[in-house]
Symmetry: C2
Subunit: 336 residues, 2 copies
DNA sequence: ATGAAAGCGCTAACAA
DNA sequence: TTGTTAGCGCTTTCAT
C-alpha cells in the first residue's frame, strides 16, 4: 500500500516550495524555466497526481458536471433499459468530459430539494437536465449559481437557461411529407407520450405537411409513455383501423406498433407503412427496418457537454440556445 | 447567489461547537439529546449540506465509486450505442449507489496509467471493471489499496480480486439442449468475439449438451466483435449452409444473423432456428422474437454496486466470488 | 521569481 | 458531553 504523494513531497523532492509546484501544475507563468523543469522532473519521478478533493475545496470547483435524468418509480432502470437514446447521449458526454479533464455524475432525481442538495454536496460545476424538469425545479435552480443546460425543454421557463434541442417541428414535417409522397391519405398520428412539448412540436410540423397536401388527419392516438409496450397496445388498435400509414413520434412506440401489426398478420409496409422518430440503433435491427427521422444523439450529448464546459469556463452573459438538425431516413417500413 | 452554509454557520446558529455539529451529522453518539436536536434544527433552518470535497479530504474517502468500461477507438459510443447491456448494468449501479449515498463515475480507459491516475485524482473508494481488463492493468491495480470488482472476468488473475459472473457454461448448455430437444442435428455455433473467455465458457456448456445428445458440431464461426453488423455478416454465410439451427453466444450477433437470414428469404425458425445469449431488451422487439439465455443485467449491476460498497465498508479479508444464474427463454425464433 | 502562510470545510484527537 | 484545534492537500495572497 504505497502512500500517496502530495504536493509537499514533490516540493521537497524538487527542492522548491509548494507554491512553485502549484504554479507549475496549474501552468501559471510565475516560475523560471529551470524551476519548472525540476518540478516536472520531480512530478514524473514521484508519479504525482493532484488530489481533486483538495483542489475542489480550495478552488471551489470540482471539475465535475451532473447529469440529471428522469426517474421512473424511483429507478433509472426502465429508461436505460428501453431507451438507448439516453446511453448514446451519455456516451457523448463521456467523450467530451474526458477530453476536457472533467468527470460527470449521473443521478435520477425526484424532488427539487434532492437535486439542489446533490449539487451542493458534490460541488458540481454545471448540470445537464435530460428530458425532465419537475414543475418547480427550475425555480429552485435559478437560485443556484452554476450553469444549467436543459435538453429538449420547450417549457416557457426554459429560456432562462441554456438549451439544446433538435428541429422537432421540421422532423414532423418531413415525416408527414414523406408519407404523403408515398400516396397515403389515411394516416394515423401517434404521440409518444401525454403532454409532451417535444411531441407537440413534432405534431405541429406533421400537421403542416398534411395541410399542404390537403389531407385530413385520419386518426390521432397517444401512447401513455414512450415505450415499446405502449406502442404495441396502440398497434393492436391500429390493426383494425383503415389507415394505411402511421407516424409515431418515437421509434420505440413505432417499433411496438410494427410488432403488433405483424403479430396480427398485417404486412409492413404494404398493408400499413410505419415511420418513427429518433433513429435508435435498434430501429435498423428489425424486419422491416424502420423508417424514421434521425437525430444524432451522440453529437447532441457531446455538444451538450462541450457547451456546458464552455459556459463554466467563460461565464457568458447570455444564455445559449442551440437547435440541431434532423434528417429523414427512409428504410423498409415505409418504402412501398 | 446565496452563500453556501458551512458547518461553522450551523454551529453558530445552534450555539454549539463545530465538533458537535460534525458528531450529529455523522451520527456519532457523543452528544446529548438536546444538543442533537438544536443542531438538527439549525441544519434544517439553514439548509446545510456537508461539502463532500471537504469530507473527502479529511476522511480520505470520497463516497464515489468508479466504473471502467472498454473504449473502442477512444470512445464509449459504439458500446453504449449498440449494447444496452452496459446501460442496464449502469442503471443497477445507479440505483444502489444513490440509495447508499454514493455517486459513481464512468470512464473509458485505455492505459493502466490513466486508470490509476483517475482513481488517485478522484480519491475513489472502489472500482468496478466492466468487460475489460487490459493485460497489465491488473498488476498495477493490485498495488492500489482500494477494493476492485471485476465483472465477467475469467482470466486467471481474476481471483485476486472480487468477481461477479454469471453461469455462462450452464447457459451454453441450456441453449444446446434446447436446440437438440427441438430435433436439430445440424447446428452452427457462433462465438460472439475472438478470444473471449466468457464465450469459451458458453461454448464448453454448449459442447457438453451436444456430447450428451450424441450430436457433432456442424459449423463453428466466430464474430469479430459482439455487434449486430458482425452478426449480419455471419448470417450471410449461414444462409447458404445446410444448418437448421444456430446458437450465437450474444443476442446482438444473433439479431444480426436473423436479419441477414430474413433478408435472404430464409424463414426463422422454420428454415433456421436462432438462439442468442443475454436477453437484451431489443431481443423481444423483433419478428420473430429472439429465443435466448437470459441474465438479469440490472440485478447484476445493482449487486455489483452493493457488493463493492459492502467491501468498502467492511474490508473483509477474503475476496468475494459470485455467480449469478441464467435462464432459458424460448421465444419465437426457435419455437418450431 | 520564490516562498510563507492563511484559508477552503470537515474530521477527530485531545483537553476540559 | 462539549469545545479547541491540528491536520487533510491544494491555491493564492502577500512578502521577500
Amino acid at each position: 500500500m504505497k502512500k500517496k504523494v502530495t504536493i509537499r513531497d514533490v516540493a521537497k523532492h524538487a527542492g522548491v516550495s509548494v507554491a512553485s509546484v502549484s504554479y507549475v501544475v496549474n501552468g501559471i507563468q510565475k516560475v523560471s524555466e529551470e524551476t519548472k523543469e525540476r518540478v516536472q522532473q520531480a512530478i514524473a519521478e514521484l508519479g504525482y497526481q493532484p488530489n481533486f478533493a483538495a483542489v475542489s475545496l480550495s478552488k471551489n470547483r470540482s471539475y465535475m458536471i451532473g447529469v440529471v435524468m428522469p426517474l421512473i418509480e424511483d429507478t433509472l432502470a426502465p429508461i436505460f433499459k428501453e431507451n438507448s437514446y439516453y446511453s448514446e447521449f451519455i456516451s457523448g458526454i463521456e467523450y467530451v468530459a474526458r477530453k476536457n479533464g472533467y468527470d460527470f455524475l449521473i443521478t435520477g432525481v425526484n424532488k427539487a430539494e434532492e437535486c439542489k442538495n446533490w449539487i451542493a454536496k458534490r460541488n458540481l460545476d454545471g448540470i445537464i437536465f435530460l428530458g425532465m424538469f419537475p414543475e418547480h425545479l427550475h425555480e429552485e435552480m435559478k437560485a443556484l449559481s452554476i450553469p444549467i443546460l436543459l435538453i429538449d425543454a420547450y417549457e416557457e421557463y426554459a429560456d432562462h437557461f441554456h438549451t439544446i434541442r433538435i428541429a422537432d417541428e421540421e422532423g414532423g414535417f418531413l415525416a408527414g411529407q414523406h408519407l404523403l409522397q408515398k400516396g397515403h391519405t389515411k394516416i394515423a398520428y401517434v404521440a409518444h407520450s401525454e403532454n409532451s412539448p417535444v411531441d407537440a412540436r413534432r405534431y405541429i410540423g406533421y400537421q403542416r405537411a398534411l395541410y399542404r397536401g390537403n389531407v385530413k388527419e385520419a386518426l390521432h392516438l397517444t401512447a401513455k409513455y414512450s415505450t415499446f409496450k405502449e406502442g404495441y397496445k396502440i398497434g393492436e388498435k391500429l390493426s383494425s383501423s383503415d389507415v394505411t400509414a402511421v407516424f409515431a413520434s418515437s421509434d420505440l412506440v413505432a417499433l411496438g406498433i410494427m410488432k403488433a401489426l405483424q403479430d396480427r398478420g398485417k404486412k409492413v409496409p404494404t398493408d400499413i407503412a410505419v415511420v418513427g422518430f429518433d433513429d435508435l440503433t435498434v430501429s435498423s435491427y428489425t424486419s422491416p427496418e424502420l423508417s424514421t427521422v434521425r437525430q444524432d444523439v451522440f453529437h447532441k450529448g457531446s455538444l451538450s457537454a462541450q457547451t456546458l464546459i464552455d459556459v463554466i469556463t467563460d461565464r457568458p452573459q447570455e444564455t445559449k440556445h442551440i437547435e440541431l438538425p434532423v434528417e429523414l431516413v427512409v428504410r423498409e417500413s415505409s418504402n412501398t
